[in-house]
Symmetry: C2
């Protein structure tokens, strides 16, 4: 039968700055009975997403997370009880399950494990990682927003994170001439160039002048800045873009914990260098996810595309592991394994 | 024979803030002899361009204006001596003549007056105004950068200036649903709605909260922000753009006199609202100027497109008239008539 209760993290108070002990509260709750069209899912893993940080503090396009309500995230789980004819007990499913150990949910809000994708070197957790929202963000950010062209130079921030690392490798596979990653430690930078096929890397904690370091590493300028960070790093990158340069705004990690946004100072180069800055929500491309995921799974199995996951054991560790995302602790996609 | 000397304004020292008495110096100089392929031009009018302000202080895409060198601008003049077979004495020509009363210049750097354009209600000075760089900036900013679509709502800053006033009227002629202009006085705002066909206007000096005023005037949001100003006004406009909104960065008037750029704070909405901000240099579209100018001249003669010019008499008044552009003094294109 599995568990008829769920342990769930809810929002206790709106954080100022990086979320801490007071931000979240762990509750235990009974699950409701399963009704027609629903399934009961035991969650095995859920993701820790920096992108949901703004909704903890203020209204966003998905609304503000209400006090007392479940923290949102992608999850993987096993169907334990079903009143949906398309799903059987034991099926592996993914969905927006939140930071919790179990739930009753409509079957049509679950995506059933696709065996064509998760074989060979592709782990099941890739479903909410490189083949989920982060990986799709890399793919569509490069293809549809930055409109990468053969031979171009691509500069990527937060490059050892799940979006950045995938974006850099995809850029090379899609024909970029030169790919440079920015990360926050020597180990991360070494991994980018030694393992992930980046042409160069910049350790932003070491650089005396970030803009100079970007100029050097790009060999004179970038065509594309794939931006996961915003703020000062974005300002520096603007000054390194070539005429006609594009900024794909994928994330703004440096902004999420600020009470007052910092933004950018450099708007004049938008005119003089003919720059374009475009933001996007990857769910807008959901109908095209299938073929992109198939191609990426193939590249993973051919050892052309690597991904890193950090699995943190225990639902009780979610808040600290989440806060660590904003301190540059993580190296790859960070997931919670629900013990 | 005309004059064999020129009176010319050169850069005396780099301004901090709005240019003042010390910024420019008036010199008198002999003109060189006319050589093969050259003409001598007596300048009748030249333009005062806010867009050249950054080059007075720092390096830009056209380089920094060197101390002691001529201030750049568009001009209109009469050929007084010619060694170019395509130009005759008495021809009216335009070109990048600078703030001066005469010059010797290559004939192929002059554009000969096109009688098909300058007839009926189209004055010769329109050649360096609505049918010159400012008007072309409006046209290509809307068509090629903002990619205006039928029925969309367009918000325009510095809307009574030469670029803004033309952009607003062109937007209506190109099928916009609603056009709102922002200007700095009641007289300017009244002109926008009573004469220039704008649907609404905002006096930014009067608005208690600019963002609220933008929301009200746009009836709930804009698809396009045609930006001539940058800074705080751009930050407010970002919060008023609808999903998929576009910002055409035509000018950044509020930035030009700052030692340290101000920029924008609001980058998060680029993601949540899927915004695009794109800058441009109108000279990139120079091969398409001809047909655009013909269409605009026709609309002017049909009374569908108005333009305003302020002609200031006397080359000695150029610096004060120029500084006034940054104080919101001007109402339409400001030109110097060389007495």
């Amino acid at each position: 039968m599995g568990s008829m209760t769920t342990r769930r993290w809810v929002l206790a108070e709106r954080p100022a700055g990086i979320p801490d002990d007071k931000t979240f509260k762990l509750e235990e709750q009974d699950l409701p009975a399963v009704e027609d069209g629903q399934v009961r899912v035991r969650v095995t893993h859920f993701s820790l997403d920096p992108g949901m940080r703004p909704a903890l503090s203020r209204d966003t396009y998905v609304g503000a997370t209400p006090i007392g309500s479940l923290i949102t995230s992608a999850g993987i789980g096993i169907v334990e009880e079903t009143k949906d004819e398309k799903l059987a007990v034991g099926d592996m499913v993914t969905g927006g399950f939140g930071w919790q150990s179990g739930l009753v949910v409509k079957g049509r809000h679950c995506v059933k494990h696709n065996p064509a994708l998760f074989k060979g070197k592709v782990t099941p957790t890739a479903a909410i990682g490189i083949l989920g929202i982060p990986g799709m963000t890399s793919w569509f950010g490069l293809k549809n927003i930055a409109r990468l062209k053969e031979g171009e130079t691509v500069l990527i921030s937060s490059a050892s994170g799940p979006v950045g690392a995938t974006a850099g490798q995809l850029a090379k596979l899609m024909g970029a001439g030169r790919v440079i990653g920015i990360a926050g430690s020597k180990a991360k930078c070494d991994w980018l160039t030694a393992e992930a096929g980046f042409d160069a890397s910049i350790n932003y904690r070491d650089a005396a002048n970030l803009e100079d370091a970007m100029h050097d590493a790009t060999s004179g300028g970038a065509d594309i800045y794939f931006d996961n960070v915003g703020g000062e790093m974005l300002d520096a990158a603007i000054n390194v873009l070539k005429p006609g340069g594009r900024i794909a705004v994928s994330g703004q990690l440096a902004e999420y914990n600020l009470d007052e946004p910092r933004g950018i100072r450099n708007t004049l180069p938008f005119i003089t260098q003919r720059l374009t800055m475009q933001g996007f929500v990857v769910l807008d491309f959901v109908r095209e996810f299938g073929p992109a995921a198939m191609q990426m799974a193939q590249w993973i199995n051919e050892d052309k595309l690597l991904y890193r996951e950090e699995v943190v054991d225990g639902i009780e560790n979610a808040p600290a592991a989440y806060a660590g995302l904003f301190k540059g602790e993580n190296f790859g996609r960070r997931l919670i394994k629900v013990s």
